[in-house]
């Protein structure tokens, strides 16, 4: 399986033109990389929006500095900035789009679509996804939806500004002044969302079918790498949780475009028009919240599982011992997927739900921490007694464990409806889920990038730049997110565009206790903003690393540079069209490291058992597919 093999394999393929090979490719690896690059660009953009917001929080009276405002035109600044300062409206717009971009356009496509696309078919020994054309369509629909959402920044209305949750009636009313509703940011957000959901559905159908149908010979369910299991469960989450949001999105779209009242209650009064709204009313805003969070909660696991999956691949490889508790982890992830469908209303404790149903959702929410803890604990115990190689991916994976731990544990108080009464919509919530998503999930995905980069390009990423990326990122992330937890407990609301400055002036007179707690905690905003800017700067080493390693990185010497056991390392480097150069079959489980009866410290899944070794037959006899007519 050397480079020669690739050539041999490619022999019977005609050369594809550039646009077919790289742009409109149906190859799962190219599509995976396309997803990765697009999602990376969206992540950077979303990150930029966040820094502008953080500037406004820390320095509400100061104009944006040149390094943040250079990319806006004068006309845009005149429209959206108040003498160079971020206005409340602009903050709302950036806030809504930050959330949307990070969740729907950044992390999900990076974790599920990019890694899933690249790695899953390789790990199950498939030549490609089950429906390659659908795969391509899925990417382009995603890109169209994402660009449509972002294009609204340049429109008269600006982009969506009703929060990433887009609650009605606010979202149904915003941008009503725009005559052609299809040119309103709020409407485009919905159209973009419907496109993104469509893309996710196509992707989910494709992933699940691929995993069910295209597993290699001998790759039985319990021989699947944990990564594949996680992708399967993620696929089911997307498949069943996203359509209700699509329904909600369509209904909200109708509200905006046709003037219906699905989510608009009776008796709404518009302050800007000083008149009752000219709609029929009798809609249900809570219905939107239900439908939104019915997706919204499984979505958290859609974000999380790919990251856990990457880490679960990297840890056994770098500790040189099997993943501890593989089977419990598989069952845990299935249970997790199931439970995630019935916890959604813990986002809605404050909507006037009664105590009985609150208790139900509180119970399921606490229950779901059990499988999560099983996953995390299994991975931590996997470290026990391993001879850990602190390679670049392993460092990220190791940091993932405590960071995700903090994220998960800070979620527990939010699960209890009494504690949530105090913490709801404060920075505590922001701190909690950013700990899950940023130092948690993103670290896991970074680990994945460093781990599979050699397979994708044939070169390693640079270690020095890697360290220069990792350590500052770790420190800055904590400086940024930990104060959020304390601020939140002090009552800082998550949507203050001026960081709580409005309360401090009342507080200075010494009457208002809340004003005093705000005064005590407000100055830490500057530290957090500094950390955010530093965090941005220290992503540069990563971008540089990705780029220069592609051309000048250290070359890999074998197709399996990490000495890993799963099937993706059996392919040539980088894998050609059709992936495998031999008739691939799996003879054993995915994490056979340091087996005493084997001479090397890893025993790949694809390696045929030796004659004198104990018989390890494929669980089922390899069968040849009947030739097609």
């Amino acid at each position: 399986m050397s480079a020669d093999a690739t050539d041999h394999h490619d022999d019977h393929h005609h050369v594809l033109p550039f646009w077919k090979k790289y742009l409109f490719s149906t190859d799962h690896k190219t599509i995976g990389i396309q997803y990765g690059l697009a999602a990376g660009a969206f992540l950077l953009f979303g990150f930029f929006l966040m820094i502008v917001m953080r500037w406004s929080i820390a320095y509400p009276h100061e104009p944006l500095p040149g390094y943040l405002s250079w990319m806006f035109t004068d006309g845009w600044k005149a429209r959206w900035l108040d003498d160079g300062k971020v206005t409340g409206e602009t903050y709302n717009m950036f806030g809504a789009m930050h959330g949307t971009i990070m969740v729907f356009l950044g992390v999900v496509p990076l974790g599920f679509a990019a890694f899933g696309n690249y790695v899953t078919p390789l790990q199950i020994g498939a030549p490609d996804m089950a429906f390659p054309k659908l795969n391509m369509a899925s990417f382009w629909v995603y890109l169209a939806g994402g660009l449509l959402m972002c294009a609204s920044f340049f429109m008269e209305s600006g982009a969506a500004k009703s929060g990433w949750t887009n609650y009605s009636p606010l979202a149904g009313y915003a941008d009503r002044q725009i005559v052609n509703q299809f040119l309103a940011g709020q409407t485009q957000w919905l159209i973009g969302l419907v496109l993104l959901i469509t893309s996710s559905l196509l992707g989910a159908v494709n992933f699940i079918t691929t995993i069910i149908q295209l597993r290699a010979k001998g790759l039985t369910w319990m021989r699947l790498p944990f990564f594949v299991w996680a992708m399967l469960v993620t696929g089911f989450l997307l498949l069943l949780a996203f359509p209700p949001l699509e329904a909600a999105g369509i209904m909200q779209l109708m509200d905006r475009v046709t003037g219906s009242s699905f989510f608009m209650p009776s008796g709404l009064y518009s302050a800007t028009d000083s008149a009752p709204m000219d709609i029929s009313g009798s809609g249900s805003p809570l219905l939107f919240q239900h439908l939104f969070w019915f997706l919204g909660h499984p979505e958290v696991y859609v974000l999380l599982l790919p990251a856990i999956a990457c880490v679960a691949e990297i840890i056994p490889c770098n500790t040189r011992k099997p993943l501890w508790g593989y089977k419990p982890m598989v069952w845990a992830v299935i249970v997790l997927g199931f439970l995630s469908f019935i916890v959604w209303a813990h986002h809605m404790y404050l909507t006037g739900m009664g105590p009985v149903i609150s208790t139900f959702f509180q119970t399921t929410t606490v229950l779901i921490s059990v499988p999560s803890v099983i996953l995390l604990t299994s991975m931590i115990i996997s470290l026990w007694g391993g001879s850990i190689r602190f390679t670049m991916p392993m460092i990220w994976a190791a940091a993932f464990l405590p960071m995700f731990g903090i994220g998960g544990l800070t979620g527990l108080p939010l699960a209890f409806n009494l504690a949530d009464l105090h913490l709801h919509d404060t920075y505590y919530v922001i701190g909690h889920f950013h700990y899950v998503v940023a130092p948690g999930i993103l670290f896991g995905l970074f680990a994945g990038v460093y781990h599979w980069y050699p397979k994708m390009t044939g070169r390693f990423m640079d270690n020095f730049l890697g360290h220069l990326h990792f350590w500052p990122s770790l420190i800055c992330m904590n400086l940024l997110f930990f104060p959020m937890l304390t601020q939140g407990m002090a009552g800082f609301h998550r949507r203050w565009y001026n960081g709580g400055e409005g309360y401090i002036e009342k507080g200075s007179e010494g009457v208002n206790v809340f004003g005093r707690t705000v005064a005590e905690n407000i100055s830490i905003n500057e530290v957090m903003t500094g950390a955010a800017i530093a965090l941005a700067i220290f992503q540069l080493p990563f971008l540089i690393n990705m780029f220069i390693s592609y051309f000048w990185g250290k070359k890999v010497t074998s197709d399996n540079p990490w000495g890993a056991t799963t099937l993706e390392w059996a392919t040539p480097t980088p894998p050609g069209h059709g992936n495998f150069t031999f008739d691939v079959a799996a003879y054993r489980g995915p994490y056979e490291y340091s087996r005493p009866d084997h001479d090397s410290d890893f025993f790949p899944q694809w390696e045929e058992p030796k004659r004198d070794a104990p018989v390890e037959e494929p669980a089922e006899k390899p069968e040849k597919e009947a030739p097609k007519a």
């Binding site: 209700p244 219905l287 239900h290 019915f294 469908f341 209303a345 739900m353 009664g354 009985v356 149903i357």
Partner: protein, 127 residues
């Protein structure tokens, strides 16, 4: 359904029969909703009519699924996926309904048990 030619030939008669059955039950649905002598429950539309109408629809839908969509020939896996989807949908609709119908009760309206009750003025002054 990867049946042989004979099986398919035989199945065609079944399809015809099921089609007629579906036509028949469509007529029944309309009849119980429009003909006065077939109006069950109270006069006009009420719960009983809703239950009858939806039951007939569910029966027709299962005929379509089992016969036309060949569920009677599929492996349990397909049942699993499909029924999972339906059960999830119903369960979640039920949960939403529950969430909407679970009121917050404010203490005892007659006795002052210390709980906040918006219908009664506070007995103790709060500062």
């Amino acid at each position: 359904m990867a049946g042989s030619i004979e099986e398919v030939q035989k199945a065609k008669r079944l399809y015809m029969f099921i089609g007629l059955l579906l036509f028949f039950f469509t007529v029944v649905t309309v009849a119980v909703a429009t003909v006065e002598s077939l109006d069950f429950g109270g006069h006009g539309f009420d719960k009983v009519d809703a239950i009858i109408g939806l039951s007939i629809a569910a029966f027709k839908a299962s005929l379509v699924m089992i016969i036309f969509m060949h569920l009677n020939h599929e492996r349990p896996l397909v049942y699993f996926v499909y029924i999972l989807g339906i059960v999830m949908a119903f369960f979640c609709i039920a949960l939403i309904g529950w969430a909407k119908d679970d009121p917050i009760r404010y203490g005892n309206p007659n006795a002052s048990d210390g709980f906040y009750n918006p219908d009664k003025p506070a007995t103790r002054s709060v500062h």
